[in-house]
Amino acid sequence: MENLDYARLQMAFTLGFHIIFACIGMVMPFFMVVSHKKWLNTRKPVYLDLTKAWQKGVAIFFVTGAVSGTALSFELGMLWPEFMKHAGPVIGMPFSLEGAAFFVEAIALGFYLYGWKRLPETFHWITGIIIGISGVASGILVVSANAWMNAPAGFDVVNGEFINIDPVAAFFNEAWFTQALHMTLAAFAATGFAVAGIHAFQILRNKNPELHKEAFKIAIFFGAVAAILQPLSGDLSAKDVAVRQPVKLAAMEAHYETEKGAPLFIGGIVDEDKKEVSHKIEIPGALSFLAFGDFDAEVKGLNEFPEDELPPVAIVHYAFQLMVGIGTLLMLAALIFFISLRKRGWWDNKKFWWLFAVLSPLGFIAVEAGWVVTEVGRQPWIVYNVMRTKDAVTPMPGLVYSFYMYVVVYLALAVTVTWLMNRQIKALNNSTE
């Protein structure tokens, strides 16, 4: 493999790592403040235990998110210096505002973590809310920068230089709203189901079930609402991609021929050499409808585009199928949860808890898959139709070493964090038993 490939792998690996911590950092504070509020209202010790446990989780994930994010802000430049040289000023605005949002978050976190018994109760609780809001704000801001890479706006290219830069127009590019909406929902769905699943598993093991049921309720509520909205927002994204990046849409659907009334493929094995998809299920006209809201609309196929502008089709297609499949599952599970609120008997059934325990990791798998769709689907462009990835990479050879360094360090970190969380849960199980 070449230097470029290692740069891409390193970027993908570190971003894929960061996004998990970022999602949890955005969403966990909300769980924490809800539980905290319940403590303030009822003074039941379970809520205090839960709040304190979640607070430790927030602190640990925040720091892991922060250090991996710090690494990323260097990495964007270290791996893609040409990209940053030209694009930096254009997408600088979301990043500088993001910096401000982080700051607010870090300050609020300082108050929250150290404020127990020292600050007035309401003020203390509000600092918790600020952590959550600024976390979500920073998520939306970075995603806007990413959306700009998909839908470049706010500048002109003359002789390879970016001129007439308008940072505000760059920020409000065509993709920012759909992407930011979808990502924010994804963070809530993924974290909600992940946390709920962990507590469901503890309930199955009959460890401190009262506490875990409270925890489950809070987490799944956020997750379920988001999971129901997710496919709707995903549909908006798909319609958006159809107009703005037709190649990406064709790759997502592994759609080679341009057709009117194009069918939707479910499953299927992509053969990139022969340019066909075998073993698929076809739903006639459905793709045209999903992409353009019209069963007869024309959908461009991959064969319309020059060979050197095609992304890797198979990966994008499989990743998209995976995301949508999981999205459907999570939506159904969310409905089951809402029905279960009416039918209390379900909560005594082990199958109910097994369901949520098993679904636990799926949200995050969908998040990773979704990002693979977005990012790999944009290839070979780093800035769609403006700059190629290979022209942006650093001239420094030997990236293979830094790639492996990150892999080793981050894997070690992931293992440690998982182990720490396990210890937190054990401690929690012993707290009010």
């Binding site: 602190a59 640990i60 925040f62 720091v63 922060a66 250090v67 994010g69 710090t70 690494a71 802000s73 260097f74 964007l76 430049g77 270290m78 210096p81 040409e82 940053m84 040289k85 930096g88 000023p89 254009v90 600088g92 605005m93 990043f95 500088s96 505002l97 993001e98 910096g99 401000a100 982080f102 700051f103 607010v104 870090a106 300050i107 976190l109 300082g110 108050f111 973590l113 150290y114 404020g115 600050l119 001129i163 007439n164 830069i165 308008d166 940072p167 505000v168 650093t394 001239p395 420094m396 050879p397 030997g398 360094m405 360090v409 720490l420 210890r423 937190q424 054990k426 401690a427 929690l428």
Partner: protein, 340 residues
């Protein structure tokens, strides 16, 4: 607006060197504490630094973001030619950052603490060394700008410019500065006998700082480094350094008397003077390569960008600075416990 942006650039640099530095220094002080004092140092640091711990490091992010938005051409050189040491800095930041949080938030306190402590202390030492080496490299006159990467060897372009006697000295200088800041900060958080320990440490690190600083200049002078020569010929830089030397006297008096707030202000002032002296020498040509000098402002972003950035910084600053100040006050970082 350019001035607003420049102001925030150096303001973040200053605060990162100061607050981030005190934070790195905390680990260094711990590393050089006797076994008995380590636990105490650890707890004191947690008390005083904990609440603003996260915020300290965001100054670095703000600095980087400003550089890449406003001064892309300048940033481009840093980020290509300092790839290796900066990667090591990141590694250090990651390791000590997570070790710090793990050791205070692990639900079970057991033997793994030994590892967290070890990683925290070692990370705290190597990170500022590499950071100082990176700063040193920029002005060392050793960076080779080229477009023909295969002609000149990998090590000549990407290793030797940052790995040499001069940069090692600048690395040690920054580490000593960090340790000095942390021990000075800790004086205000303790009382009685313990306070004496930190006063003594603070004195030791001040002396090391002066010695290493002298070594940097002497070495640079005898190897005819452009930066050092210009430094020694620049009246304002010399005045700044002289002033910082003079200020050592009240600082030492304050340390002896153990006035904590005054020691903090004086220590901050020292940092300000050192940065001013260094930056002023060559401003705006803040990178010196083997053959030329690179102007920070030359490749600056167009006005439209600078304007938006300036406005964002002003608004951000207006929200953040009072919040940060309030945070520091609430937890005694500013206005520490009175003499007891």
């Amino acid at each position: 607006m350019l001035y607003v942006v420049l102001f925030f650039t150096f303001f973040s640099l200053f605060l990162y060197v100061l607050l981030g530095g005190a934070d790195f220094g905390a680990g260094i002080v711990e590393l050089f504490s006797s076994r008995n004092n380590r636990k105490l140092t650890r707890d004191t640091i947690y008390q005083v630094m904990g609440p603003i711990w996260e915020a300290n490091h965001i100054w670095l992010i703000i600095l980087i973001v400003i550089l890449w938005i406003a001064f892309p051409a300048y940033f481009n050189i840093i980020i290509i030619y300092l790839h290796v040491p900066l990667t090591l800095v990141l590694l250090g930041i990651t390791i000590r950052g997570v070790a710090f949080i793990f050791r205070h938030y692990d639900a079970v306190v057991d033997a793994s603490q030994i590892w967290y402590n070890r990683l925290f202390r070692i990370g705290s030492l190597i990170t500022p060394v590499f950071l100082g080496m990176s700063f040193g490299t920029l002005v060392s006159g050793k960076i080779i700008l080229t477009t023909d990467y295969s002609e000149i060897g990998f090590a000549d372009i990407f290793i030797f410019p940052w790995l040499n006697t001069f940069t090692l000295l600048t690395g040690l200088f920054y580490a000593a500065l960090c340790a000095f800041l942390a021990s000075t900060l800790l004086i205000g958080e303790t009382t009685g006998e313990v306070r004496k320990i930190y006063s003594r440490k603070s004195a030791v690190f001040t002396i090391s700082l002066v010695l290493i600083g002298g070594a940097v200049l002497t070495y640079g002078y005898f190897t005819e480094m452009v930066f050092v020569k210009d430094f020694l010929n620049n009246p304002f830089s010399l005045i700044a350094i002289a002033l910082s030397a003079i200020l050592l006297i009240p600082l030492w008096q304050a340390i002896k008397k153990q006035y904590s707030m005054r020691t903090r202000i004086l220590a901050g002032l020292q940092v300000l003077l050192v940065i001013f002296a260094a930056v002023n020498t060559h401003f705006p040509n803040l990178i010196i390569t083997d053959t030329s000098e690179v102007d920070l402002l030359a490749g600056a972003a167009p006005d439209s960008v600078i304007r938006v950035l300036g406005i964002s910084l002003i608004i951000g600053g207006a929200i953040i600075l009072p919040g940060l100040f309030h945070l520091m006050r609430s937890f005694n970082m500013i206005n520490p416990k009175k003499e007891s």
